[in-house]
Symmetry: C2
Subunit: 392 residues, 2 copies
């Protein structure tokens, strides 16, 4: 165990901490996987949402990225990214905001409905490549991989629109997150690739050429033994990983790269509990059930100047209200803890936790800015709304 | 059914909408309840976190408020509130931030541990009144109401510190949220008041005078038939209410005053589902199980220029990922819905949803600013941390 970083003394309220060595290693390993397989690595930036961490991806050779909102696309375009896939069935109410990005970056789009394509065809002011979202079994969005008629018709509609061109097919096997084992994730991944290649073959038979096959996600990309039949991967969460990924078994604890620092505000030895300033507004309410049936919102982790130490599953975040976090731990841990101590917790879902901040600290003592989601969501212009109550 | 407000046409991404008539009525009714009972009304502002909505409380005669963080206290102090209870066991790492508020407002504090009181005694630069947090059965924070020794010792410690004075006892009967019926909430409330008065009596016998009894929360304050034995109430959620309160049965749907506007980005008639741009980052992941066993993250609600229409339980938000919301509804609703439509959803927990924005719209077409939690959480100064990576 190394020394605790000195700057922890200055932390006074919850703030996310990253281990930059682990983040860079996670990026490097995924980049190598893609390079070895000859597959394009287009990482999803919705997890870290940081221009600084984006630079570390550039260092690993990344030139194209994935985002999930127009506002996030703008943030990364302003940081110099010029090749961006907006991997959300396009929200046609944001056409104007999309067009405003024309000079800054090439934004590839996603659609699964003819009305979305019609609105794009009528509204874009620059050529865009459009992917069709394919449902390979997650049943959230996308056209079912079995619906040859619908897939073909949408592809032709895209091809016939003057400013649009068909980019390929894109899927997200989100059902991987319900898998119980790496083996099951692997099997879902293989199955997904197989379905996507059947769709590509079908489209090809009907005269649609140049169909890129683009596949998410962290569980599948982490455990797969083959990327045959895949042109592009878009994992995102692997940059930090989290307890969700650990609980599926697709990673080990040595890749966990983000934790939330929280001050201890209460000690309750009678029930072996601590209370943190650190609640639902600081962690998000994402949870999972551990081996013993406890509902878990986070596990403790050691922090040193050199990076994160071992995960401490004995220190369990078992309850969250708006601003309180309830921690259960051994009598010994409770006895050693003092009011005002700073503890670090790995969250269940790093994407959601990180989204509640516009900065990270790093174990090496840097401040790493990120996109402020609340400001972006609230800044939308509403021309017909009275602004007279905007008093500050 | 009235007309839909015209400004909905300008909404392009998720944003919270309030019905100002309902908000004012909710405030008025709670103010009347307190006034009639001769009890101080010190509403918790953590739900709305808006200086503008704060004004509506002032219109109802409110002069003292409750908040849950030092940053929130600062925001409301800057809006002219001078009498503020910070109802969270004080986080001793924020002493400096507390002292910075000295000139602006009187901040009453909360403690349940001798080390917190010692740190306050050593660190405050101005007199503060300190409440003891009492655990009356929720078992989150507080000294158990049964522990006469601990309660007395902490009260004496507070009294003997030069800059601190004992304000009284404060409790939050959070277990009301696990109640199944208004009757059960009522019974928890009565039981809470009874325990608090036993504590007051005990302290009085030991020479501690002037002990205010301060009690939360929305469920209890909404349904109680008596405020005997209570000096101060601190409900917060009642300003908007939400599906959680509705599911406990303590309110009817006509008081629901906040909903999230979301654009429809996908339509899936095969499974009677829609997909919204509106996910966990827009709603929070708070959920409940409805009568039919479905997990619910929100219900649809009508919106007119005159305010909210009826709750539409048939339009159910049944799944959330980071930015997607999955809605299930009748075949007829699905058939009538178009890509790009804006739907309104009442969230399960209005406090957590509102915390993800720094503005509300109102049905009458105003923009109502609120505290930006992400900016506040991320703005903390860390003097010993390198700022050289703060590149924008």
């Amino acid at each position: 165990m190394g020394m605790r970083p000195d700057f922890l003394k200055s932390v006074h309220s919850p703030i996310p901490l990253i281990d930059p060595g682990r983040v860079r290693r996670n990026i490097h390993q995924m980049a190598i996987l893609a390079k070895t397989a000859g597959v394009r690595f287009r990482p999803h930036f919705k997890t870290h949402q940081s221009s600084k961490i984006g630079e570390w991806f550039r260092d690993a050779g990344v030139t194209g990225i994935t985002v999930s909102s127009v506002a996030m696309a703008r943030y990364f375009a302003e940081s110099g990214w010029t090749n961006i896939t907006l991997a959300f069935p396009f929200n046609i109410r944001e056409l104007e905001q999309l067009n405003q990005l024309d000079e800054m970056a090439e934004i590839h789009l996603l659609a699964d409905h003819p009305d979305t394509v019609s609105a794009l065809a009528a509204g874009v002011t620059k050529p865009h490549r459009v992917f069709i979202k394919v449902d390979t079994g997650y049943h959230r969005t996308g056209i079912s991989w079995k619906r040859r008629d619908k897939l073909l018709s949408l592809a032709k509609q895209i091809e016939s629109a003057p400013n649009l061109s068909f980019a390929g097919i894109l899927t997200h096997a989100g059902h991987s997150y319900h898998a119980d084992s790496p083996g099951e994730v692997q099997s879902i991944f293989r199955n997904t690739v197989s379905k996507m290649n059947q769709v590509r073959k079908t489209l090809h038979e009907d005269g649609i050429q140049n169909c890129v096959v683009s596949i998410g996600n962290t569980p599948g990309c982490t455990v797969t033994d083959s990327l045959n039949g895949v042109d592009e991967i878009r994992p995102g969460n692997f940059v930090f990983y989290d307890l969700m990924q650990l609980s599926i078994g697709i990673c080990d604890e040595n890749v966990l790269a983000m934790a939330l620092l929280c001050p201890v505000t209460g000690i309750y030895p009678d029930r072996n509990e601590l209370v943190l300033l650190g609640g639902a507004t600081h962690f998000s309410k994402e949870r999972f059930r551990n081996e013993t049936g406890e509902t878990i919102f986070g596990y403790g982790i050691g922090v040193t100047e050199a990076g994160f130490g071992p995960l401490n599953r004995e220190i369990r975040l078992i309850g969250l209200s708006q601003e309180h976090g309830i921690v259960r731990a051994s009598a010994e841990t409770i006895r050693k803890t003092r009011i005002g101590d700073i503890l670090a917790f790995v969250p269940v879902h790093s994407c959601l936790t990180a989204d509640l901040y516009s900065v990270y600290l790093s174990t090496s003592g840097d401040r790493i800015p990120r996109f402020n989601s609340v400001s972006a969501r609230s800044a939308q212009l509403l021309p017909s709304v009275n602004n007279n109550s905007l008093s500050f």
